[in-house]
């Protein structure tokens, strides 16, 4: 029983970690909470549904198109809604981001209806039993895809020129500007990368479970909690936080009523904000919340 819960926790944690990286990267460069990030995760699933089920395109091609569509959405959101407010207060951007989030949810409801949708393949959802633990091939894929994507993200940020630009913008937008770094391009790259990770998380989840238009709220708030838990702005922290939230949530329902599962992430969020706002891996020199 416990090993099953741990496996479930790791799978859920992988998804949270993928979404949390996007939150934490955007916070790093722009210092605000991109509340609409959860909806990019939802869009990943729905765009794949659109291309694969509705347009009947090839599956891999549908996924690639969906990821590109979500990246474009992410870049456009930054362009239209966040860039004009960049010099303004964070509360204004937070309110705008909440607006974008509600807007996207309802556009999805208008386009696809509010009933659940599914793009599961026959056979792929069947559970395998490994040493008394049930796991589907998709769940194994979720875990390995997450690990590979994280390695790619780390390499991109630490080894490429664009990644270097992103890191310098994270340190200070003004200094980066003075040094001749194209700040707008670095910020667009950050949104594109974060959106791509959220889209992939959305596709992976939609292969494993049903999807519905507001699923991004729950996943997004948990991923945000993961980012805060790990220390906002810190990518390794976001990954750690994602797995911690996934494991705690799933192991807690061992003894507690399952309805409380939805409360755990928020309790963790409040405790972190109240008692250790810099998170687990945050440094004191980092800006405390």
């Amino acid at each position: 029983m416990l090993s099953q819960l741990i496996i479930n926790g790791i799978i859920a944690g992988s998804i949270y970690a993928l979404i949390a990286i996007g939150y934490t990267m955007v916070y790093g460069v722009l210092k605000f909470i991109n509340f609409a990030h959860g909806e990019l995760f939802t869009l990943g699933g729905y765009f794949t549904y659109l291309f694969f089920v509705v347009c009947k395109l090839n599956f891999v091609f549908s996924c690639v198109l969906a990821i590109l569509a979500v990246m474009l959405t992410g870049i456009l959101i930054e362009r239209i809604a966040y860039r004009p407010l960049r010099e303004k207060s964070r509360l204004a951007t937070l309110i705008t981001a909440i607006g974008i989030s509600i807007f996207l949810q309802n556009i999805i409801i208008l386009a696809f209806g509010s009933r659940v949708k599914s793009i599961r393949f026959s056979g792929m959802g069947q559970s395998l039993e490994v040493m008394g633990v049930f796991i589907t091939p998709i769940q194994i894929a979720i875990f390995f895809a997450t690990v590979i994507l994280m390695i790619i993200t780390f390499l991109f940020i630490n080894k490429t020129k664009l990644g270097k630009a992103m890191r310098s913008v994270t340190d200070s937008i003004k200094t980066a500007q003075i040094l001749g770094i194209n700040v707008d391009r670095a910020i667009s790259t950050t949104f594109a990368l974060g959106s791509a990770l959220a889209a992939i998380a959305g596709i992976l989840v939609s292969l494993d479970q049903d999807m519905w238009p507001t699923m991004g709220i729950n996943a997004g708030l948990r991923a945000f909690t993961a980012a805060v838990l790990g220390g906002i702005g810190n990518i390794r922290g976001a990954v750690l936080g994602g797995f911690v939230i996934g494991l705690v949530e799933n192991i807690a329902i061992w003894n507690l009523p399952s309805g409380l599962k939805d409360m755990i992430a928020f309790l963790i969020l409040l405790c972190i904000l109240w008692f250790r706002p810099i998170g687990l891996l945050g440094k004191v020199k980092d800006e405390a919340v």
Binding site: S101, L110, F266, V289
Partner: protein, 291 residues
Amino acid sequence: MDYVIWVAVITELFIILSTSLNLTVGVAGVLSLAHAAFYGIGAYCSALLSQNIGTPFWFNVLVGSALAGVFGLLLGIPSLKLRGDYMAIATLGFGEIIRVGLNNWESFTGGAAGIAGIPRPSLFGFRFDSPERYLVLVSFFTVVSVIIIYRIANSPFGNILKAIREDPVAAEALGKNTTYYKILALVIGSVFAGMTGALYACYITFIHPSNFTLFESIFVLCMVVLGGMGSIKGSVIGAIVLVTLPELLRFVGIPSGLVAPCRQILYSIALIFLMLFRPRGIWGESDITKS
């Protein structure tokens, strides 16, 4: 006619919600996303009291408001030392915990099915059982609340809140304990939200957790932003516009299943455009977008 009265009562309830949230968000600059949670605490408290114990209406309203205030205090003390956007997220987390709690504590709150058959109020033997009588009762509460909130916003206490909103460092330098004042602003806002919840519960007579979601908080925030931060007059107008305008959607032939998403799209676009092009709203005295 009953429909018109229904819209009028709901509009008045939202006027109390938006003006009280404006005291917290607009006057004191504390972005709270938990207003609907306080509203829900007041509604559930008065509904449970009147159903299980049968206490009189005025007592339920009083206890509902006080309990919402206590929760506001419990949330405010640890949260209001955080920086603006994190405090907003803390209030959001708190609101979700309340909603999930109402949804899952079935033996106490009735769970997702909610509470039905809440008795209509009576005062001194006079029963407010017809829509017209209830309109009179709610109008009385609305007028008194708006006057009190207006007086608070323009009192010396309100001026201190505005000073903290404009420049917390300067206010601190003048010897004002900013955290203390911000907590008070949150508590006053939540007391009024709790009172509105108690009024709502015995008007609708049926409440369930989905009445008190994060979206409801954002809806009230829309009214405040539209009317203008810090302007009580603006919040009254904001509530009237945002409650009655979508009612017109019912008459232009949009299928009933699409009314809710269309409403929410309108609100979200309004919120985005206001932030981008007119962050002061209609009558705002303060611009939330300046950093």
